[in-house]
Symmetry: C2
Subunit: 110 residues, 2 copies
DNA sequence: TTGGAATATTCCAAACAAGGAATATTGTTA
DNA sequence: TAACAATATTCCTTGTTTGGAATATTCCAA
């Protein structure tokens, strides 16, 4: 899960790939159409799509010698789960305990 | 917003930084304590914290010659908003229209 | 079966990121 | 003020990522 998250974030950490995802939000696209729309070279577009595909973010449908790429919204599940996990916080009581303990024993801060 | 998102994802695209965030989920930590807990060198820990700080993910409280780092949950807002935006999809009707139009004019696929 | 269109892959150079080691900075305390 | 503790920064090396250019692959059509 850890590793999957990292590669997910890695795949999202590029402006051009975010633009691709933005396009795919509404409909499927072929590589050439995206390249023209985003003003990117075809090879670069293919390479970015490869990364998105490896991260599970897009799926491909082979259609003659074209490939129709689609956004795979399931891929965001890992992110959403992590997001929820991060939102969790221990209770105030736990935090108070931790603070007191720390003041005495300096276990964390020493 | 685009740029902010990229640097946010970039900051999250590292296993050690995810571990730091995981720690900060529950309480504040000083640099040395984190380094020991995560078995990382102090300089590396500081460097990762710098990146997290620049992405707005953590805040610092200077406390004598220690710095207490805390998770800044607000930073996730940009991600959440984008997430919601991505979840949006045009209506089936729009998609049908797009499909028909495309079949005729090949505007996207040509 | 040859030509062309769509896409992927490879190679290369430049930019970038990460970790280790050493050093600088700042604050505290004796 | 001198020594020390906590943290940040710099320098260096190595591995990774990006984009461009060229090339390979696959499929369709004539």
């Amino acid at each position: 899960m850890e590793e999957q998250l990292v590669s997910l974030f890695q795949a999202l950490a590029d402006p051009n790939r975010l633009r691709i995802i933005d396009l795919l939000r509404e409909q499927e696209w072929t590589v050439g159409a995206m390249a023209r729309q985003l003003n990117m070279s075809q090879p670069q577009t293919s390479k970015h799509l490869r990364i998105l595909h490896e991260a599970g973010l897009v799926s491909v449908t082979i259609d003659a010698n074209r490939r129709r790429y689609a956004l795979n919204r399931q891929a965001f599940q890992a992110m959403d789960a992590w997001r929820t996990y991060i939102e969790r916080e221990t209770s105030r009581l736990d935090r108070l305990e931790a603070f007191l303990e720390e003041s005495h024993r300096e276990e964390n801060l020493e």
